[in-house]
Symmetry: D2
Subunit: 409 residues, 4 copies
Amino acid sequence: MEQPQQSAGPEEAGAEAGKPPLRVGMVGYAFMGAAHSQGWRTAGRVFDLPLSPVLTALCGRDAAAVRAAADRHGWATTETDWRALIARDDVDLVDICTPGDSHAEIALAALAAGKHVLCEKPLANTVEEAETMTRAAETAFATGGQLAMVGFNYRRVPATALARRMVAEGRLGRLRHVRVTYLQDWLNDPEFPLTWRLRKERAGSGSLGDLGAHIVDLAQHLVGERLAGVSALTETFVRQRPLPGGPSSGLAAGAGRAGTATVTVDDAAVFTGRFASGALASFEATRYATGRKNALRLELNGERGSLAFDLERLNELWFHDATEPAVHAGFRRILVTEPDHPYLEGWWPPGHGLGYEHTFVHQARDLVHAIAEGRVPQPSFAEGLQVQRVLAAVEESAEKNSVYTPIAD
Amino acid sequence: MEQPQQSAGPEEAGAEAGKPPLRVGMVGYAFMGAAHSQGWRTAGRVFDLPLSPVLTALCGRDAAAVRAAADRHGWATTETDWRALIARDDVDLVDICTPGDSHAEIALAALAAGKHVLCEKPLANTVEEAETMTRAAETAFATGGQLAMVGFNYRRVPATALARRMVAEGRLGRLRHVRVTYLQDWLNDPEFPLTWRLRKERAGSGSLGDLGAHIVDLAQHLVGERLAGVSALTETFVRQRPLPGGPSSGLAAGAGRAGTATVTVDDAAVFTGRFASGALASFEATRYATGRKNALRLELNGERGSLAFDLERLNELWFHDATEPAVHAGFRRILVTEPDHPYLEGWWPPGHGLGYEHTFVHQARDLVHAIAEGRVPQPSFAEGLQVQRVLAAVEESAEKNSVYTPIAD
Amino acid sequence: MEQPQQSAGPEEAGAEAGKPPLRVGMVGYAFMGAAHSQGWRTAGRVFDLPLSPVLTALCGRDAAAVRAAADRHGWATTETDWRALIARDDVDLVDICTPGDSHAEIALAALAAGKHVLCEKPLANTVEEAETMTRAAETAFATGGQLAMVGFNYRRVPATALARRMVAEGRLGRLRHVRVTYLQDWLNDPEFPLTWRLRKERAGSGSLGDLGAHIVDLAQHLVGERLAGVSALTETFVRQRPLPGGPSSGLAAGAGRAGTATVTVDDAAVFTGRFASGALASFEATRYATGRKNALRLELNGERGSLAFDLERLNELWFHDATEPAVHAGFRRILVTEPDHPYLEGWWPPGHGLGYEHTFVHQARDLVHAIAEGRVPQPSFAEGLQVQRVLAAVEESAEKNSVYTPIAD
Amino acid sequence: MEQPQQSAGPEEAGAEAGKPPLRVGMVGYAFMGAAHSQGWRTAGRVFDLPLSPVLTALCGRDAAAVRAAADRHGWATTETDWRALIARDDVDLVDICTPGDSHAEIALAALAAGKHVLCEKPLANTVEEAETMTRAAETAFATGGQLAMVGFNYRRVPATALARRMVAEGRLGRLRHVRVTYLQDWLNDPEFPLTWRLRKERAGSGSLGDLGAHIVDLAQHLVGERLAGVSALTETFVRQRPLPGGPSSGLAAGAGRAGTATVTVDDAAVFTGRFASGALASFEATRYATGRKNALRLELNGERGSLAFDLERLNELWFHDATEPAVHAGFRRILVTEPDHPYLEGWWPPGHGLGYEHTFVHQARDLVHAIAEGRVPQPSFAEGLQVQRVLAAVEESAEKNSVYTPIAD
């Protein structure tokens, strides 16, 4: 085992006076790694936490790159082998920010080593892996009190958290409709290269696992119940894409022309479904919605009211109260920045909005509380597994001529 | 046959100097009848038409009620039997604004009597009727030069007409996504009575024929091609509703409790589909989207750009030009009130918006031009038939466990 | 006196069975004339009126042009001299749609001839004229029961009428702020010709009388009280403009270069003010707000709530109810298309919006009711005069270094 | 002098490998102090900075409170006397986050002690103080190379920075109109207590210095030139407010009833103005705009285009390009989250928006660069002084019956 590399400039974020530390070791430092770093560094600065997160060790395969990332993001030390990270005594929690094909292996090892685990979504690339992980998490909790959480961060936008609260309070009454889209457009350019996210063996699926996982989880979370079944169409619009590294890349096995290879995941998925209690649902996930950058849009219609949200305007929740006289009723824009709104106790005065990254601050906050209290955090691995089952049903329906496909329990 | 009733106050709308008249006889005078009346009365006041529409005769079963309606809406005479209306020599065109179950019979008789026909949507309650009507229309055109049009008025919102023009100009490039909803909420109240629109034998279907027909037609019109197949879920949320006339109503045969009867149509439908050239589509029609009053919303995403529209803000078309540098790109709100916009030559200065009823003015305008020029107007009965086939495929898919169902040619 | 010209195709709009007629003679047939024609023709078709408006005679100086306009807009006969129109026995009401410099003369003569009068805004080009007109109207009412109204049509958008109702109901509480803009951009092009609207001797003022008059009236109407004083800046951005008729035009006296002449009115005005009860107000009127086509935007902030409106989205009124708990409060978009909303009893189902021209239908409706009931319609000439005094104070303030200038009573 | 208090958990934020530190000492730790802390802690984690900010010392009068704040926000040590802070050798920059009445004294002392200074806005409570501070800053730069900056953070929203760039590129052409409001509503409640912000001796002015300073600076910054003069109205709607500490408070001198005292600042200000090159401007600052939480809204209209922004949707900039054909033109919503947008190089993928606090991260970034390069940062004290002169002219105009008041050079 390599020696841990000591960073020149460690940041002991949140080692606030007198609080026990929560020592985090993180695997992966790309987009999600940067976002999680912000979360861990900031949570204790904004919220009054029972434990103080410490950015103990960052792990990546390239020693120089991981060192640079650790310096940038404020991690005290580095590792180049995730097994070494997991073996460290000074790591309490392993935060997994790698592509989906390594989630299961790392998470199982971390749980076996007695660590808490935060795993990015989707939980795994297959239902089988997700089942194994869920069993392992349940065993680890039962035997060692370890906690495992999956990173569906969009539950922790203040506006979606408020939406959940309002649904739970009965403000929408019986739900009739749920419609959710997650629209991006970064694959619209046919010259965009074939990165790992476009390869089934790495990413598991395309828009489905990346975007669809978010909206399936968020919809079920807000509704407060599970999807009973789905009917789906999927499509890959651009089948051949240039390789990221040029013609000599090792991916060339699948290449259809010099320097290109075949996209093996879905570009887009549209699916409908039914919730257990009868609400109709529709979903769309795509990376080809030109001009839509991050349009996770949802609307719930119930007998007593409706809610609407758009991630591109994440500080706003729209609410229609159908119990009011029609003459004064209308969708209202709640600016979710009031002190009584979820997560707002630590932030700025009303109207001074938050951004994308704060979902990771809130995720860190909630996980720290769960760990301190020894209770299973949400979304648990079991919830991540259930989302995986929905995605599997979507794929199965798409393969079977869109036939309505029940979600396995 | 009754004598035509001469109204005390006829309106010879549009009998402008020197223009040949187009004498209209209309059957039905409820919501659609009122809207069509506005269309016929106003078209010649705003546009320079080759023929001058004359509101010659209004037909309805109740003599007093039709007389009152004629006075209100400006029709010169009345009839109480549509066969008498069709028999009149002074009627050139029969405008059918009745529920769907009488469309076929009236339209066939009118064509047989040598009249032009404008028929409200949906064209008919069954594909078979629509086929018969389409054949009759084609024969009438070939033999007598008569013209037949179906009333998909939403093609004639200036913003949707501009959208069609922009798609046809190639400004969106190859289309990837089409998503359309038509959301209303007037059935959310479970005490809303069981009117004809909720009875299959009168209306043919529920939200599907009422709202779904509009969005299927509009989507295909804007895209410029046909749907290849669909996968659908439908639902009836409230199965029993009070009868409009109370317990003694003749509908009581289907009554589940005193004074109620069973809803026999769909309350909502969600369906996905594929266009011939590969674009993915999603549709939703419902009368239970609390707070949404008339939200016909559509978005098209193509390789070169996107368009979005909402009928609740019908003077606006949103356009994203993806050929622009990303640093200055964004969805722009085109206020479709410029002189060069479709239908705007006759209206007000920029920014002085139009309303719902003007779609009927535009419909009248376009139909008058088609008649004067002897060319088949759009949407033709053949187009109405094709929409009917899509709706039939939706129902078939919904019955067959959502299996993907190709649209018959 | 010329013989009245009988149109080939008269329209006896609204001569509904058994209703006494209200015979209208209108002077002017440009933009406002077209809009008023729609109002008179349609009001009795949509609303149940006590009198039936008849489009009896249209007056303009050019015989051929006025004949063509009468045919287009549905007027039965024409006149080329407004004095002849006023002299006619078959005219009950004179509707004045000419530029402001002729309002006083025509209105005074019409009132003297025993006619009711509807006069387009601004009431006159000077306070003195407006005072004379107001005195004449008051005398005519006292002695002959004639009614006079000024055409501030924006009071009759359903959304602004709802706003007025809500303010009157106390839903906003004590008002703190009133901000109103009326933004257009049609003078942004420096080659736009010097039409009558840019000449002080015809139009009285520029953006001030055209747009400012509307927002001053609307603000005072909604607030329910008068402005106490104003402080103003005005500006003419483009001083020289091409003549409409080219170099030989009779306007050449003021020409600064061949074929151009000097703009003698304001291009824009910004002003602040105080309402009697202490609310602060700000106003802006301009024809240079690039991209804003008809942006009459207003917002009222009171202790208990706020309202906002934008004429470019005229079917919407935004309401913030400050008496609600902050956690669920927000500006709500009331779609002003419900049956209980002002003017909506005659129109379409919820969500089927209206357009600009319908303000003239509502104006005709309300004036007909006032005439039938013999009560002074609002806005009266006295109200038009008061607006004129505000505009005069704005001009005086602008000339006197923006000093706060009280409004004369 | 007290010993510096060593925090139990210092955060050596940004002490990245091999980079020289920039050691910050901050005075004040309320709202602004928390925001600045986030800025200093995060800037080096997101951007590649030439110096590494270190949160060296936090200063406040209450030892226990400042210690708690230091722990919370990550400052290594504390001081209770700002003179002691300034005297420390290990502080390179003094960041002043106190009320306006102490800005001048602290800034002058810090500059005299050879420190760089960041001073919150408004620069001072009087023009005289601001002049002294500006002279001191200029001398300090000339003699010691020290840099001084004022904290108008709203220049550093990516959207406003993009707006500035677009104006500078000429995309708007000659400007005609500038309208800016800054609307909040937290004083609408008459029971809100009389805090320091409502006392002239502490805050200098009310909405004017708090909100008006921001919009005057931002407007001038975006336009790229100075206001020539202003005409103003101000108002205090609620004159008596409860004291924060109850009846025994030391403020009781001004009390009008038991436990209340007199508000000595403006509640709201509306003012108009002219820019040197002729554009008309209007401004409004208020804390009584019910339902508006942080509505800093601005619009610029120029010959070639327009821009609009609302701080409540801070990731969006709206642009109208008037050089496009009218048929396709419209205000477009630029989501300012692209890699080429200002400040976006360090953040998230497109569509993943930022929040309020990130303006302080950007402020820290830019100040660090300026210090590393030895150039005067913007906004300089001279710019802060000029804003102060505008505010003084606003107050003078308001006192002199709104007369147009030129801005002193």
